[in-house]
């Protein structure tokens, strides 16, 4: 297995900034990048700059009127009632100067990653600035303005005509990307997330399977609040392995949101760094097994920006570049530099101590429910003759 990987980064990815108190903070990309540099796993020659997506590229997915509205908002020229119509100027997606340009760089970063891989300059590519999976055709939502994942997939379909598997491990349902390709049999979407019972956006039920020609190419695995590593990994590994075998993609796009961790303030899942080692390992393995290695990874959610996201995202790159996650102590230079700014004590190791997970009294019940959800999902990947084996 020989492979080369590229890392998309420049300061342009850091301009996507709502305000200081907003939970979605792209300083996470900087923290992860610096962590990798300090670890010595990110050589300069692997770093490429994101380009800015053109308006034509944005409109591969978004409506003309919406792009125009974002451009106006970007210059503080969009009147409030019109902003509301497009989901702009809310608590989740406030307006900030230059938002159009900042968002276009995130999208451009994902397109740069796609081109690197599909023009054969790299086997894998990572854009931690991307993964904004809640963006809709004509509406901003859930901290997302332009949906870089959906645009990148349209771009792959139009320019390279390949069949795409999109895998979303953010703790929130990857609704924007799912609905974008809900009727498309050439794009298979799979999202594992905390059930929408209480958590935004509320969708992502196992019975959301696609419509028309796209029926059967949308997969959802909603898992219970308080799910821990073992149950998460059991369900995830089985589901993704089977879905990939069923769909046989030409390229895999992963959205690597890092908000399923027990420290995350916005969700109620209870995982540790263990899943953030396994998630990229499995993507890497399946990309080589089915796609000649073609794998593009994106960032996403993740709201414990100090203790969780830098390590989780750095491990995606470590697997891409080194084929294995980093182990042991974190570099002291990184800890010394950022501990001054961090309001919480930074972890000292790549791995978490299992004791950080609170005791979950309903653990058995939760694992059982996740297993049932998995069986529901697998009904659609198994041949009729294999159905009985599921039980």
């Amino acid at each position: 297995m020989t492979c080369t990987a590229k890392f998309v980064f420049s300061d342009n990815l850091l301009q996507y900034h709502f305000h200081e108190d907003h939970p979605f903070n792209q300083k996470r990309v900087l923290l992860a990048t610096e962590l990798l540099k300090a670890t010595g796993t990110l050589p300069e020659d692997r770093i490429i700059s994101p380009r800015m997506a053109t308006e034509e590229e944005l409109k591969l997915f978004h409506d003309h009127a919406y792009v125009e509205a974002v451009k106006q908002a970007s210059q503080r020229m969009l009147p409030e009632p019109r902003a509301t119509e497009y989901g702009l100027g809310t608590e989740d997606t406030p307006i900030f100067p230059g938002m159009h340009e900042a968002s276009s760089y995130l999208v451009g970063g994902s397109l740069t990653a796609v081109d690197e891989v599909l023009l054969g300059r790299a086997t894998h590519a990572l854009n931690l600035g991307g993964g904004l999976h809640h963006g809709f055709k004509r509406k901003a939502s859930g901290f997302c303005i332009y949906n870089d994942g959906a645009i990148a997939i349209r771009y792959i379909r139009e320019v390279y005509n390949l069949r795409v598997l999109y895998v979303d491990t953010d703790a929130h349902h990857g609704d924007g990307v799912q609905w974008a390709f809900y009727d498309d049999p050439n794009v298979c979407t799979f999202s594992i997330h905390e059930t929408g019972r209480y958590l935004f956006p509320g969708t992502g039920n196992v019975n959301e399977r696609g419509i028309k020609e796209g029926h059967g190419y949308s997969f959802n695995l909603p898992i219970d609040a308080f799910t821990e590593d073992e149950s998460f990994l059991n369900a995830y590994t089985t589901a993704l392995t089977q879905i990939t075998a069923f769909f046989k993609p030409d390229i895999i796009i992963t959205q690597n949101g890092a908000d399923a961790h027990c420290y995350d303030p916005l969700t109620h899942l209870c995982s540790t760094m263990a899943i953030y080692e396994r998630i990229p390992l499995l993507a890497h393995q399946l990309a080589h097994e089915y796609c000649n290695g073609r794998w593009v990874a994106l960032g996403g959610g993740g709201y414990d920006m100090w203790r969780v996201v830098p390590r989780a995202w750095a491990q995606v790159w470590n697997v891409m570049h080194n084929m294995k996650p980093a182990k042991g102590e974190l570099p002291t230079s990184w800890l010394d530099k950022w501990q001054k700014e961090s309001p919480v004590t930074l972890p000292t190791h790549w791995e978490d101590d299992p004791s950080i997970v609170p005791v979950i009294p309903r653990k058995e019940e939760i694992s059982e429910k996740n297993k049932l959800a998995l069986q529901q999902l697998l009904k659609y990947t198994a041949k009729p003759s294999d159905q009985l084996k599921l039980y």
């Binding site: 809310t90 608590e91 989740d92 209480y198 958590l199």
Partner: protein
């Protein structure tokens, strides 16, 4: 919400002398489960369900030769009289008709029993989904509040102050305590934490999401 807002106005119908075979074909072709039977001037005189038609059809395990039963007129198996509703009835009221009468379809008629639309239990469920707001993006919050006048505006003012749009509000009785109500809000935000903190600060009891550590845990 009024029946005329949710009813379908293009209704597949048959006349009483049509054959059962025609009814079977229509049910299959349009993937429907009920056909109102109409007389002169479009007035409703009966209704057949897919079950009525299947009762009159040969079993799939029998040879397909003997199909003369399907040549009977539809009026020989239709149900009557028909329970009907008016376009200006409330959707809430007709839900009770569906429940009490254990039926799954209500023709909508105006003066002279003239057919103008149809509402099925599927339309009712669709309306339920719209009313609860589970089909659009939202976060879900449940709080227990004293059952007294003015409580709802007090709570919603907290959401308004945070510029958080409400997708839907449901008010349930509290099972164990008649002096309390459960309010269920679906709010349009991915980050409900500021609202939750405000609600807690104002002294409301948060039932869900109950996984966020509160002061009493």
């Amino acid at each position: 919400m009024l029946v005329e807002e949710i009813m379908k106005t293009e209704v597949i119908t048959l006349t009483p002398t049509a054959t059962i075979q025609e009814a079977l074909d229509l049910l299959n072709q349009h993937k429907i489960r009920h056909i109102p039977i109409i007389g002169n001037d479009n007035h409703v005189i009966g209704i057949v369900s897919d079950r009525d038609v299947r009762d009159a059809s040969p079993s799939i395990f029998e040879s397909a030769t003997d199909k003369h039963n399907l040549q009977h007129e539809i009026q020989s198996i239709m149900s009557q009289p028909v329970i009907t509703i008016h376009p200006l009835d409330f959707v809430e009221e007709i839900a009770k008709i569906f429940y009490d009468k254990e039926i799954a379809c209500l023709p909508v008629v105006r003066e002279g029993n003239r057919l103008v639309g149809i509402v099925t239990e599927k339309d009712m469920l669709y309306t339920m989904i719209q009313l609860t707001g589970t089909h659009v993006q939202s976060s879900h919050i449940e709080i227990k509040v004293p059952h007294r006048p003015g409580i709802l505006p007090e709570v919603t003012a907290i959401l308004g102050k945070r510029k958080t749009n409400i997708v839907s509000v449901l008010v349930y009785p509290s099972k164990d305590d008649p002096n309390y109500k459960i309010l269920v809000f679906r709010i349009q935000t991915m980050n409900p934490l500021p609202v939750i903190e405000d609600l807690r600060e104002a002294g409301y009891e948060l039932l869900a999401p109950n996984h966020i550590a509160g002061p009493n845990r």
